[in-house]
Amino acid sequence: GDANSDFFKINMLKSRKKMIKFARSRIHGYGLYAMETIAQDEMIIEYIGQKIRSLVADEREKAYERRGIGSSYLFRIDEHTVIDATKRGNFARFINHSCQPNCYAKVLTIEGEKRIVIYSRSTINKGEEITYDYKFPIEEDKIDCLCGAKTCRGYLN
Amino acid sequence: WSAFAPEFQELEENERYVEKEGEFDMEDE
């Protein structure tokens, strides 16, 4: 296929996994770090998980909260569908949020399937933690943001 | 890293979740 097509690129991701390392994060728990310099607007990793309907995601979120599984690994694709990486998915779920991120998430439609890909927003140097803005909806009970960026908004939601 | 997510299953592709018949039921006598 066309080497520039999203389909081709996203499948290259699997074979040529960006040199990314899983390690302790200064932001929160564990995170992913670049092990090589990554140019701007490069596909870094797909956020993979279980595709579920919105209402199923709402029910699960309540169940996870009841069980104290705090951080949400639910990623909304569109008004109908959510990707849930809480129990099944890949390690993109460990990417931390930052209010001044070096990456961004993009929903691609490939062969009719919507998929989430994390792209570099700017050049990322070796050893830098990979982050993107979760863009959580504003909610009542707040989750403190620990990104430490100058422009930090103080909360994830 | 899977050690940090108990009973976590790694997936290569997104997996479409097949809902159970009772997916939305709270109680079912």
């Binding site: 309907r53 209402l55 | 018949e21 039921d25 709270m26």
Partner: protein, 124 residues
């Protein structure tokens, strides 16, 4: 004529005239007309039932969630083909043992007593 509504249904259900076809996960389609008082009844032909698939039918107000089965919250009352359980607010109770299946004709009745005290305006 009462039809299946062409817009008051979950987007993933196929509607053609009076036939509703769903493929996975419970979702709801409602009728083109509602009722507000009196006693009403409708019938459903259960045309097709691929292995271990089930349907739920019943009565719902316009506030019930379309992306869920009838009986999921307080705005609807449902009856399930599997075990014939009745549902309201997602709570299943025994109702009609054995349930119903493909080929059955099912009736749903609703009785909305007109309350003499509250002056329910005519034809509300």
């Amino acid at each position: 004529y009462v039809n299946v509504s062409t817009n008051d249904h979950a987007y993933q259900l196929q509607i053609s005239n009076l036939t509703i076809t769903g493929h996975e996960g419970y979702a709801m389609a409602r009728a083109s007309h509602g009722v507000a008082k009196g006693t009403w009844y409708f019938e459903v032909n259960f045309d097709d039932q691929p292995d271990d698939s089930h349907i739920r039918i019943g009565w719902s107000t316009c506030h019930a969630v379309l992306q869920a089965p009838v009986g999921y919250n307080k705005f609807s009352y449902g009856w399930r083909s599997k075990c014939g359980t009745k549902f309201h607010e997602a709570k299943g109770k025994k109702y009609h043992a054995g349930g119903f299946k493909k080929g059955d004709v099912l009736g749903c009745l609703i009785h909305l007593p007109v309350d003499k005290k509250t002056l329910v305006p005519p034809n509300q």
